[in-house]
Subunit: 159 residues, 2 copies
């Protein structure tokens, strides 16, 4: 394997590990438990799941790898705090949306070469990217992986 | 910048971001709040801090970059669950140990080239590393960064 291949697989493996770990937590929680708060007065796990699904869905345009699948999740789970708006999806539908979004992302990441990873994301201009080449897809995905871990730790508290 | 440099900086930036975010949470918690549980019946933030400090301290030998600084934290915060053993350090001492360990790691990572990142970690044999070159330092540090995010999410619930 070349260094580039090793590197791509290393990043990809961590993404997959974090998603699979969160899936395991989700599979251990009933639909009723999703309505529980991670800690008293804090976000419901349902909200965390909607939030992560929406943030991951936003990666399609951000990485320039396709159209969004679930824009309906932005208002209730990114733009507003928990319990302000009604949940637009049932627990079953939200679990399915989460899997759908991550499966599509995972398939895209699988095919990335190092060059693909180091391309600019779409929220940065060509000009700014020349000044700061760290605003690349790799940084976005590593950041989102870490973000998913952050909320996975919270969701696990309700098991 | 070369691809290799961009890559090293991208990984390093995420490590620093996660550590700094955790430091911010810590700075907002009093010593009394460190004794609080992240959720009812769960680990105290003090335990999470001891656990992360010990796990990060273990990276010195694991990455082959120096001697451990705080072996006294393994028994109470890795090998045992919370509240089985007495805390060996005061809150002030533990906060200091956390900073000391991360500062030393950060200085080491700062100087890593891509070749350095892709070297094997010390818990894998030369033989196994040839079969699985993903068992490298980069994977360890990315994994620990994600692990720190996981517990950072829990610690933030007590703010």
């Amino acid at each position: 394997m070349t260094n580039e291949e090793i590197l791509g697989v290393t990043v990809f493996n961590l993404w997959r590990l974090v998603i699979n770990r969160f899936n395991k937590t989700l599979s251990e929680l009933s639909d009723e438990q999703l309505q529980q708060q991670a800690a008293p007065g804090r976000n419901r796990v349902f909200y965390l799941l909607g939030h992560l699904t929406a943030m991951h869905d936003r990666m399609f345009p951000l990485l320039g790898i396709g159209e969004r699948l679930h824009t309906e999740l932005d208002e209730p789970y990114i733009l507003n705090p928990d319990r302000v708006l009604a949940d637009p999806l049932s627990a079953t539908e939200l679990r399915r949306a989460w899997t759908e979004v991550n499966d599509k992302l995972t398939r895209a990441f699988e095919g990335f070469t190092l060059e693909d990873w180091l391309q600019k994301h779409t929220a940065v201009s060509e000009e700014d990217f020349i000044k700061d080449p760290m605003r690349n897809r790799l940084a976005v995905v590593m950041n989102r992986t870490s973000h998913a871990s952050y909320h996975a730790g919270q969701a696990a508290l309700t098991k």
